[in-house]
Structure formats: structure tokens, C-alpha cells
Amino acid sequence: MSVIEVNNLTKYYGKARGIVDVSFNVEEGEIYGYIGPNGAGKSTTIRLFLSLIYPSDGEAKIFGKDCIQHGPEIRQDIGYLPSEVFYYDRMKVIDLLKYSASFYDKDCTARMHELAEIMELDLKRRIDDLSYGNKKKVGIVQGLLHQPKLIILDEPTAGLDPLMQQKFFNLIRDENEKGATVFFSSHILGEVQKMCRRVAIIREGSVVKIEDIKTLQKDNYKKIRIAGDGLDEEQFKLEGVTNLHRDNSAVNFFYKGDINKVTHLIGRREISDVTIEEPTLEEIFMHYYE
């Protein structure tokens, strides 16, 4: 079953583009990456899911129900961690968490304390006294205390130290193993690579590619570097070669297609060195953005 179904979702802010004609599905139990640079439309998509804003066209369904018509009902099972966390300043952490818990039909007290302990959150502090990282922790506990079936993360790790990031990722993985679906938006590829099985790449408001992380990395592209005297990049203009460029005496390119064609090509030349490797996700990513 698809937990999230997005069909031709479009949002314009007046004339400014938010997202255009975005479609994808997130299946139950997966950790789905949503990746793109700032301003690509990641937050717009998420805010549409939560009906913080309304679509100009198209629709989004969560748990098979329309996000707008069944908003309150759907949100009963959504945990949302916004990228920028600001909570009512004069409140204590514990009061904020209790307030948050009061919106859900179930008793969240036990899970709330458990999470606070994991994230090493001091419940008695006032929120305005907290550092950015600690506020972020409040956000995490607040978003997870009702054991949501769908967890929506919008650039969740900014402000957390590496140790906390690790704890946070473990927490998300645990929730995922217990059955929660995770929608993970980020511009940091490393974390998406670590966490997600599938990823949608969004660029200037449109999804340019949806793929398995593994496929994205393995099956598609090889990063090839050939060094040798008198090499000319013109010789390597095969079909499937992209990003061809030369630095000093080496020719670099990405190749997608039958690998034998390239090895034959290489075999016919006198070369001093060759490396064929999988490009990092970063490189693939940059590739999509060129």
C-alpha cells in the first residue's frame, strides 16, 4: 500500500514557483529520501502534505485519504519535524511536550519520557533558554511521542552534533523497523544515502528522478579516469558518455551503457593508468543539477 501518493501536485505562490507537477509514491514501511538544494521545493511539498498550504493543482493522498479533506484525521498519525523549530518561548519543555501530546487520542506520557531520555533532553528547562540543538531535540521528541505511522522530516539534522545525529538516525531506524514509514527531506546526500532505500531528486520545483539508491549508484554510471600521453578527449565521445573533461594528461567522464565499448576503446590506446569506479551520490547529484 502507498502511504503517500502524490499526483501532479503543483503549487504557485502568486506567480512564484513552489513545485510543478510533482508525482511520486511512498510505500508503507520504507524510508524515502527527498533530496534537492535549498529552494527546490522540498518544504513546499511537505507543507502541502500537512495542509499548511493548499495546492494550486493536483493532489496528495496520505494513508489513501486526501490531505485537505481528511487533514485532521490523517495528522493523528503523522509526526512532523520542521526544519526550523520555534516553540512558544515562555513554556517549559515538559509543558510543550504535554501540550503536544494533548492533541492525540492516545496516552503518550511513557513514550515521551523514553524519547527525552534517549535524546538527553532536560524537561525542566525553559524553551527560550535552550540552544538551537536542544530546541531541535524538543522538536524530535514532540514529533515522535505519539508513535506516528508516518514520520515527516524536513532537514532534521541541522544543529545536532554528530553523536546526537547518530542517536537520531538510530531512533528513526527503530521506528521504521516497528513499521513507521519515513519521508526524509534533506540536502545532505550522505545522510540520505545512509538511511534511505529510494530517493526522489527535486530540482527547481520538479522531480527529475526517482530511483533506488543502489540503482542510482551502481547500475547507471561509472566514473572513469584514463591517464596517458597524447590522449584526446575527442576520442572518447561515445554514446552514454557525459561530463567529459580533461585535466592535465588525464581524461575524465561518466559512462552509462555497455562497459565493453569503453574497455575496447581503452584497449586500443597506450595509457599509463585507468580507474573505473562508482561515482559517489554527490557526483551523481551534481550531474543532475548541471
Binding site: Y54, R75, D89, Y99, S100, Q142
Partner: protein, 267 residues
């Protein structure tokens, strides 16, 4: 209920501050009344020397400041200004603060309907205003009875004055909220609420002076003009109904606008 309590708690300090300030104001100015009334002849003579436009602007041309109610109605106008600022403050901030402080992302991601959020917030603000209202009643009764000396006054216009507060507050609360939803973002509430409250007051005061009857019609200060109520022992009903219709339109409009509103994000 949870939103209501949270809102009420956050508002409570402000409610107490406003209530006490207005109470102190009433007590202090009514405290001047005994000396004032003793020299009433002198004062009335002095007033006669002021330009009539000025007296009109402050609504003093039709007011006999030597009587208890005359004096009280003069104070009451200034009370209305304060009540208007307070109510407009709450109205403008009720929804806009959530967007400005980005807490809307927290609240609206919870499983609640926007209409329920609005209703809870509205009731919380109304409760706060009602507390202030009650404090004005108590301090007005206390002050008037404490300082009237041997002079008597009619109870009915006095009660009518105080009864008008609730509607008066609601107009500014509702208008503030409605306007805050018409604009894209309210960065700072004070200029808006001051603008609305003083703007309406000036319109009423100078409308008197300029004798332009049309513009006055839109200001609640005119709808519940104290000296009219005191002199006639009744409301200027068609005008009072105008205030009520403002409330209805602004509140219904707010529900419609808020249910369609795109909540601004951090960036």
C-alpha cells in the same frame, strides 16, 4: 480545550496588566472629581473660553462635567480608547503571532481543524477581554460611589455605558483579526492596533468637529458615544447595530479566510 487553556495562559499576564492599568486610571481620574465638582462654576466658565471645536473634539460640548455621569462619561471615552487598543492587540496577534513565531507549523501539524483552532483562540481572547470588562465594571462602581460625595446619578445610563463595553471590545477584536488575515504578514502588532484604535477614535472626535456625519458612521466610538448614552439614557440603536454587523462580518470573514490561508514559512 487544550488550545483554549494554552492561549489563555499565554494571554493572562497581558490581561492582568491591561485590567489593572485601566482600573488605576478610572480610580485616579474619578478621584479628581470631588475637587472638580466643587469648582464647577469656575470650570464651566473656563470651558466656555475654549474654542468650541476643541470641546467638540473631546465630546465636551454636550457634557456637563460637574455632574457625576457627565464627568464619568468624559473619563469613559479615554477608557474606550484603552479597551480598543487592548482588544485590537489581541485581534491582530491572535493568528499572526503563530505565523511570525513559526509556531503555526507546530500547531497546524497537529490533528485539529483550523476552525477549532480559531474558535478556541477566539474564546480565549474573549475570556481575557471579559476579565478586563469585569474589572472596569468593579472599578467604575467603586470609583463613582467613592467619589460622588452627596451627588446622585441615574443608574440606567451608567449601566448602559458599562454594558456597551462587551460589544465595543468585540468589534475591535474581530476587526483586528479580520485585517490580520487580509494582509500577508503582520510583523509587529502594535502599529496595527494603535492605528486601528486611534484611527477610529480620531475619526469620531474630528468627525464631531468637522460636522461630517458620513465618516463617523464607521467608527465604534461613535456607535457607543458616552455623552449620547448619558444624555439620552439609551443607545443610538441604528449605530449600535452597525457595530454588531461589523462583528458578524469580521468573524465570518475570518473563518473563511483562515480556512483558505496559506501559512507563511520560515523563509
Amino acid at each position: 480545550m487544550n488550545i483554549f487553556l494554552q492561549e489563555f495562559k499565554m494571554n493572562f499576564k497581558s490581561v492582568v496588566t491591561w485590567s489593572l492599568s485601566i482600573a488605576v486610571f478610572i480610580m485616579f481620574y474619578m478621584g479628581v472629581y470631588p475637587t472638580f465638582a466643587a469648582d464647577a462654576e469656575l470650570i464651566n466658565e473656563m470651558m466656555a473660553n475654549f474654542p468650541p471645536e476643541l470641546l467638540m473634539a473631546f465630546g465636551m460640548d454636550q457634557t456637563d462635567l460637574s455632574t457625576v455621569l457627565g464627568f464619568f462619561s468624559f473619563i469613559f471615552v479615554l477608557c474606550q480608547v484603552m479597551l480598543a487598543i487592548q482588544a485590537a492587540n489581541y485581534g491582530f496577534s491572535i493568528l499572526s503571532v503563530e505565523e511570525r513565531d513559526l509556531t503555526a507549523d507546530f500547531l497546524l501539524a497537529k490533528p485539529v481543524r483550523r476552525s477549532r483552532i480559531l474558535t478556541s483562540k477566539l474564546l480565549a481572547a474573549l475570556t481575557g477581554l471579559t476579565i478586563t470588562n469585569a474589572v472596569v465594571w468593579i472599578s467604575s462602581f467603586t470609583a463613582v460611589n467613592l467619589f460622588r460625595g452627596e451627588r446622585t446619578f441615574e443608574t440606567q445610563p451608567f449601566i448602559l455605558l458599562l454594558l456597551s463595553i462587551a460589544v465595543f471590545q468585540l468589534v475591535f477584536l474581530a476587526l483586528g483579526m479580520f485585517i490580520s488575515l487580509l494582509v500577508k504578514k503582520v510583523r509587529n502588532v502594535t502599529p496595527y492596533s494603535m492605528g486601528l484604535a486611534f484611527g477610529m477614535y480620531v475619526l469620531s472626535a474630528f468627525g464631531d468637529m468637522l460636522g461630517d456625519a458620513k465618516l463617523e458612521l464607521i467608527t465604534p466610538f461613535k456607535h457607543f458615544e458616552p455623552h449620547f448614552i448619558v444624555n439620552n439614557g439609551n443607545y443610538d440603536l441604528p449605530l449600535a447595530y452597525l457595530s454588531v454587523s461589523f462583528i458578524v462580518v469580521a468573524i465570518v470573514g475570518s473563518y473563511v479566510l483562515y480556512s483558505k490561508r496559506n501559512i507563511a514559512s520560515a523563509v
